[in-house]
């Protein structure tokens, strides 16, 4: 599996660390209700199809990226820097 780092180009999956779904970029306000925080911390969809994950290019440039991939076909559809991504 190769991931297209926006800075380094296509690199081997071993250079990356997997964090989780891109929901993590969408932090609720500090005074949001318990339901919003419960969703943010614990609840994730388990999609058959396209999903967006956060990966860290740990052994490369050090950027956090959002990778769009398909869980059914294993196709990797693209990646953007997390700092530029909207979850």
């Amino acid at each position: 599996m190769r991931l297209p780092c926006p800075i380094c180009g296509e690199r081997d999956r071993r250079e990356f660390y997997y964090q989780g779904h891109a929901t993590l970029l969408d932090r609720p306000a500090a005074d949001a209700d318990a339901g919003a925080w419960d969703d943010y911390v614990h609840n994730r969809d388990n999609p058959a199809g396209e999903t967006r994950d956060l990966w860290h290019h740990e052994a490369g440039c050090g950027a956090w990226i959002v990778v769009t991939r398909n869980t059914v076909t294993h196709e990797v559809l693209g990646a953007v820097l997390a700092e530029k991504a909207k979850s």
Binding site: I7, C8, G9, R11, D12, A59, G60, C61, A63
Partner: protein, 182 residues
């Protein structure tokens, strides 16, 4: 006054010639990590260019020969082989003696490195002047292409022994295969 004797990271470990490859230590001299502040990259690049003759490199590129500016991470580069000029718009950290840098030359250099790194080292993809942060065995480090069969590999100094061990083992494996195929 006490005169301290400097010891290079790979002292006593290199040089080595194994099969078609030679591995030698590179003494890079003074090194400084440059990290421009937000929005200051252009100004830092211009200041660097007028002071030492090389600008701030694009991602995955290495500029110049002596001195050199080597990209080494997001918004970061190493200035190698020159004193760091005054750069108002950047954080500058002395990295002299912090890195173990080795040069690997020879016909099998690509084959040896291919055993240690997932990087695509083909000449069409990874050209002279290209550099990459990647994995070298279990270590994170940098690989820079110097020529058709010549590369520079760098890891933090504390891992010098492991770097030499990994390169030696990979080179010995390649040499053994060449013997077997004879």
């Amino acid at each position: 006054m006490v005169n301290l004797i400097a010891k290079t990271p790979c002292a006593g470990l290199l040089p080595k010639t194994i099969g078609t490859v030679t591995v030698t230590e590179v003494n890079a001299g003074q090194m400084t990590l440059l990290a421009p502040h937000r929005g200051q990259k252009k100004a830092v690049s211009d200041a660097l260019k007028s002071a030492v003759g090389v600008g701030f490199p694009a991602p995955n590129r290495c500029l110049g020969t002596a001195p050199r500016a080597m990209w080494c991470g997001q918004e970061q580069a190493l200035l190698i082989g020159a004193a760091c000029p005054e750069l108002a718009g950047a954080a500058c950290v002395d990295h002299s003696d912090a890195w173990a840098i080795v040069q690997i030359d020879g016909a099998d250099a690509v084959a040896v490195l291919a055993r240690l790194t997932p990087l695509d080292l083909r000449a069409t993809e990874f050209k002279r002047g290209h550099t990459a942060r990647t994995l070298i065995g279990h270590m994170t480090g940098g690989i820079t292409r110097l020529g058709a069969h010549s590369f520079e590999v760098m890891v933090m100094r504390s891992m010098a022994g492991t770097l030499v061990h990994d390169l030696t083992q990979a080179a010995e494996n390649m040499a053994a295969r060449a013997l077997q195929g004879r």
